[in-house]
Symmetry: C2
Subunit: 523 residues, 2 copies
């Protein structure tokens, strides 16, 4: 007699009820918990030629198209842009981009250089996205998130001089470890720490904080092993290393530069992260290889109507083909609510409320090309991010083409919500560029001398999304927004708990099509 | 009137006295301090056809050959092996390796898979090595050193169950931050921390340790953002995340798993690190493209003699050519002291003492090939290192070929000094392999099921070096060892303050040839 283990039970559910049921069972049993994705979805049962119209060829729409065709549906996709991907977007030489208001930027980077105005890094645990990349043969390379040699900068700290993350991190850690070790040693924490733990706690702090035997964090060759030497160990004559001075612990504290360390420690930024080789849009290109034949490009949806017989979508062929109509039995609508709210639709009340009330996040990103990779050659920064309290927020160095000669492209700024994300909305591209240079040169004085060309994207001005991601101030409307409304279901990053992430778009899409399919097959 | 800045002064020295002088001036002024390397060396002055014999085509010998030929010397290199690189060595399919004692291993990895038995990662600040890679067009890719999803394992901790580095790191940090924040808040550190600093210290600890407003580190969605969720945020229905349980803080402390966190924090292991695309030996291959024509392979040096007229080296052509003799005006000897001490030489007393008294480090490394990348597919570990207190010490996952199907090669163990580095010396390859599997399966139960083939290198048994790096218990003999002895100068990692690193070998070589050249040109 075999014990019914959780795995056995899942096998039985899979055999009896098909993979969709198993997928849901796994999720509800917590088996798929670490990723909320446990491998390719399988939509069992014959849809008997039902037609599905998918609105939008971003990652949610592409996922729906890929899986629903595989399940036997008749699939048509309408996409506003001239190519697939949506916010999964890469700008490179030859690209032209016109923002709301009419300003056009022509990208003039060197061959091979690019910037991702939208998503630009993939956490290791975004398993659904990474699994699609694997299946679509989109090669991955590491994205360097944390670089100990990058800079932390605040105008009001250290006289405005950028500090190396390494120094702040090591000295802060040393300082707090010394404080705690001494307090424990002096018996000040006898109530909080058992006698059994005191010794091992102090021992651990010596390791963690690089303290000496007197529990002090001091200038020494040992602390320099962590914070860097004044003179590095070398070879031959005069090669002995020289210890480096510590930063003043009070200055480290008061600088507040420690605040920048936390980002790297959240699970969606922990090492290792990934990026597609050649630009984020290679994911869209991978999907296009599979479902490109289903997509009608340059199709601007102007109306979405459903009744007891089906769904009718009116759209305009922006390439000059005039007004068109598409009909289907069902619809997966991945149009961002910021856009959908401006489209004539007859979706029901709860969903319509959610659509019309969702604010969209602002964000600005710059891609700046310089004549040479001075950040590598002069500053020894290979990938990673420098942070600043200036409005550009951060400067990120390319995680590809290390050590190469010739021009390189920086992410010259990335604002995220708050006032800084609005600051650049009203500006023209040239003015935004000037601001990025003006701020960036506080961290890298080489900026002006080495600058070649640049491009920036203000997400509130991107015509096909009007923002960078949906915002849930609370989740009051969430259940209404994800519900299947008769023949229509909505999907996208905005209908997930991972807003702004491509993983959220895919997981939302998988959930939506799995429910829609279930309804179609089982009624 | 121009102020004489440091840079101007260096320019003047460069113009007047040549680049060698400038290189030394830069070093002595601390200008080159961060790297102890400030760009390509230039050996100015005409050596007038002087001949230099270089013994050993490892990185020290290759660097000497490359630079001395460029400087106009007549260069001959003798190398024991059938190829260049020395410990800069990669084993891949088709390779055969016979260790001391006669055991031969034939490497049977799948196409493209490899293991580096010697150096396997390059710190970002090993500027000399990285600069040679750039000049030799050896492409680099990131080596993932720290992976928050890798395992930490001790037989006596957590019932022998491996823990994720993320959990140990986050919970340890949370626990000590809570202890310190509460102590400060309760006024217990009023002597050590000024009133001005107390508030900002507590604020920083809330950020650093992920504490709540009561300065507690507790189970919450917020701490789960750092330590991972019980159920990750998803999309659509039932997508809300679920917080994860914390580890017991006392168990974390007593586990001593915190001890494994320090490695990643030393400057020579801080992110980002690099590796050559395709295997470490691509550096040797890059040098061979430039100076391969100067190298005589299969040349086993048996005697090194010098007198007032020159240097005479007797060597055996191990490919069957019998005993041979090479003569030169000068000699750069990069033969490891472990081998040189067994060669008939007439070097002077101080140097001879250093040669005969240097112990060499032991180390064992395994390359294990498995049918599939179960560490990625089952454990979501992409690159990085798991540590264990078992004798194998660590398991490192390949930093290349991520997400690929088919067989992958792990570094199945890497011992370093201490008893564990001797444990495997007496074993035959099959027995060593069995130990690696037996220990590794404690961390990855998939080992036996998935194992395909393996190879191991015990460095004390490598015929041409008999150890993995020279050891300086103290530096009493160091000055004697690096001194030019009439016509002979020694170089290599063992004559640097960066022993066991390729950077040490190169810096030692640059220093040695620069002094030798100076002596030849200026007497």
């Amino acid at each position: 007699m075999t014990e019914i283990t959780r795995r056995n039970l899942l096998g039985m559910i899979g055999t009896v009820a098909g993979s969709t049921a198993m997928y849901h069972a796994m999720t509800s049993m917590g088996y798929a918990a670490p990723s909320d994705y446990s491998g390719p979805i399988k939509l069992d049962g014959d849809p008997k030629g039902a037609k599905v119209l998918i609105l939008g060829a971003g990652l949610a729409g592409l996922t729906a198209a890929y899986e629903m065709r595989a399940a036997g549906y008749n699939v048509e996709v309408l996409e506003y842009r001239e190519k697939a991907g949506g916010r999964c977007w890469t700008l490179r030489s030859g690209d032209s981009y016109t923002e709301l208001g009419g300003a056009t930027q022509n990208v003039d980077f060197a061959e091979g250089n690019y910037i991702n105005p939208g998503p630009w890094r993939i956490p290791f645990n975004h398993h659904a996205l990474l699994d699609y990349c694997r299946r679509l043969k989109v090669p991955m390379e590491p994205f360097v998130q944390i670089n100990y040699n990058s800079y932390l900068h605040r105008t009001d700290a250290f006289g405005g001089k950028p500090q190396r993350l390494r120094d702040i991190k090591t000295d802060y850690r040393g300082h707090i470890s010394e404080l705690l070790a001494k307090a424990v040693d002096q018996g000040k924490l006898d109530e909080a720490v058992t006698a059994e733990d005191r010794e091992v706690l102090i021992e651990s702090l010596r390791s963690f904080g690089v303290l000496n035997n007197q529990n002090e964090y001091v200038k020494s060759l040992e602390t320099s092993e962590y914070r860097g030497f004044e003179k590095q160990p070398g070879g031959g004559v005069g090669a002995a290393p020289v210890a480096s001075d510590l930063l003043d612990p009070q200055e480290v504290l008061q600088s507040r530069l420690w605040a920048y360390m936390a980002t790297h420690e959240t699970i969606d930024h922990q090492a290792p992260m990934f990026q597609p080789v050649g630009g984020m849009d290679q994911i869209a290109v991978g999907f296009e290889r599979e479902v490109g034949d289903l997509i009608t490009y340059n199709a601007k949806v102007v109306a979405l109507k459903q009744d007891e017989n089906g769904v009718t979508v009116t759209w305009e062929d922006t390439a000059g083909g005039g007004q068109q109509t598409s009909t289907a039995d069902y619809c997966v609508c991945t149009i961002p609510f910021s856009i959908l709210s401006q489209i004539d639709h007859n979706l029901s009340g709860g969903l319509a409320n959610a659509i019309s009330s969702m604010p969209y996040n602002g964000s600005t990103k710059w891609g700046l090309e310089f004549k040479r990779r001075f950040w590598e050659q002069d500053d020894q920064i290979f990938g990673g991010i420098s942070y600043t309290d200036l409005a550009i927020g951060q400067i990120s160095y390319p995680s590809t083409g290390y050590f190469s000669d010739g021009p390189g492209v920086l992410l010259g700024g990335y604002t995220w919500r708050g006032p800084n994300s609005y600051k650049f909305n009203a500006m023209q591209p040239e003015e935004r560029l000037e601001w990025a240079l003006k701020m960036g040169e506080k961290i890298h004085p080489q900026y002006r001398e080495e600058f070649k060309t640049g491009v920036s994207v203000v997400w509130h001005k991107v015509p096909w999304v009007l923002g960078c991601s949906g915002i849930w101030e609370n989740r009051d409307n969430y259940e209404d927004a994800i519900k299947i409304d008769n023949r229509v279901v909505c999907a996208g990053e905005h209908l997930s708990y991972l807003p702004a992430w491509q993983e959220g778009a895919i997981l939302s899409s998988l959930d939506a099509i799995s429910r829609l399919h279930d309804k179609i097959i089982n009624g």
